[in-house]
Amino acid sequence: MQIEEKFEPTIVAFCCNWCSYAGADLSGTNRLQYPANVKIIRVPCSCRVNPMFILRAFQRGADGVILCGCHPGDCHYTTGNYYARRRMTLLFSMLDFLGIERERTRLEWVSAAEGAKFAATMNDFVETVTRLGKNRRLEDLRCNK
């Protein structure tokens, strides 16, 4: 019998230092499992995440990118996540417009107390991206094969 190798997606998670990174730590402290596919990059605030970083991740082979920040109104820098929300809304909508699967990008608000939410979000996201399979479209957008 041939064993089909399971697709393991590469997931990049940008987490703001004050809420979501702490939320991720908390899910660790509480030993809440989520797949090892998720690798977290710490940024000071969700508003630090440049659309360039997200495209870069896809370019270098990421299959899903998720951005986590403080809940609206709770930003450590008061307004950062509001700007991040607008930027990501427009960027994600654009990727969708270009025909990229919309499930590959996500914006979530995770507070420092929401360890469980962080783990659940990551589990769900990994599952969704695994179902989508390898991210080829962004790569293939130009190659008219």
Partner: protein
């Protein structure tokens, strides 16, 4: 109109009001005009042109031109004034060094469209009201002007001059245009169809940078794609990904600054409908955050430098489209 503009340019120059005049000059072909800075009356009389092919948005060139000493006069079509106003808002042009002359525009012509109508060997085109007399090596033909208009002019958003020092002709109005129809049609497609569409279009990109060089919003001192220190430098495509990266980032960098002048698509040698990417952003902004027209109001906060506590989430934006 060409004579009126020449006279205006001559009188401004003669009166010493300006030292230079930025306008259109006949290029290699009659339909291929180029922006030019005129310094003498003789030059103006010889080669300043204004007709259906004077399409270039001149506002961008002021960024470099105003670095020089002296005053410069510029002729701005209604849609160009939006770009000019936006550049003023961004402090890219010192207002006091520019004498802006607003000129009327009833739509620019698209030579490719005329050719596609089956006309070959075109030697000259004369505008005759709403008809065009086309001289070809095979004889005289006529075409309805409406069939020869550039896409951006068919969907003209405004005939209003936002900012000027003097106006030739009369003040126009902002128009109701169907400029988002094409975006909407794409939105209605399935993701696969959209992907196929953009794959077909973007595959043709040769990274000539014409879109960036013509865009009045792309006036950065140094573009991130040219800057080795930016980390995303890519002067020439190194991988297949670079083009979409380039076009997405370029469009993102002009979000809230793009006035939808359509220069990107006009200058694209591969005829990629790049304006659709910008229009998608504009349409989203209008729907998500309220109507916003870049360049219209110098005091208004741009959508990305503004927020509302109840702004929608990205996921809701998708849901809205369904």
């Amino acid at each position: 109109m060409q004579q009126v503009i020449r006279d205006k340019a001559l009188s401004l120059l003669e009166a010493g009001k300006v030292d230079r005049v930025l306008a259109w000059k006949e290029g290699e072909f009659f339909y291929d005009q180029t922006p030019h800075v005129f310094k003498t009356a003789e030059e103006i009389n010889r080669s300043l042109v204004y007709n259906g092919f004077s399409a270039a948005n001149l506002s961008k060139y002021l960024v470099k031109e105003t670095l020089k000493d002296g005053m410069i006069a510029v002729f701005l079509k209604p849609c160009d004034t939006y770009s000019f106003s936006q550049l003023l808002k961004e402090h890219r042009i010192p207002r006091e060094k520019v004498w802006a002359v607003g000129i009327p525009c009833d739509g620019k012509l698209d030579i490719d469209r005329i050719r596609k109508a089956g006309l070959r060997g075109i030697t000259s085109i004369r505008e005759d009201g709403d008809r065009l007399s086309v001289s070809t090596i095979y004889g005289e033909k006529t075409v309805a002007k409406s069939d020869a208009l550039a896409e951006r002019c068919e969907n003209c958003k405004s005939r209003k001059h936002i900012v000027y020092d003097e106006l030739i002709g009369s003040e126009g109005e902002a128009l109701d245009s169907g400029r988002f129809d094409a975006v909407e049609a794409l939105e209605k497609m399935s993701p696969e169809e959209r992907f196929a569409f953009w794959q077909k279009e973007l595959s043709r990109c040769i990274r000539c940078n014409a879109c960036r060089n013509a865009c009045p919003a792309c006036t950065c001192e140094k573009c991130v794609f040219d800057n080795p220190a930016s980390g995303i430098e890519s002067k020439a495509p190194a991988s297949s990904f670079e083009e979409q990266n380039f076009h997405i980032i370029r469009a993102f960098h002009v979000v809230g600054r793009c006035t939808d002048c359509g220069e990107c698509s006009r200058v694209c040698p591969q005829s990629i409908p790049l304006h659709l990417i910008n229009r998608k952003f504009i349409k989203d902004i209008n729907e998500f955050y309220g109507t916003y027209q870049a360049g219209e109001n110098p005091d208004e906060r741009a959508p990305l430098t503004n927020f509302d506590k109840d702004d929608m989430e990205p996921a809701d934006a998708f849901r809205k489209g369904e």
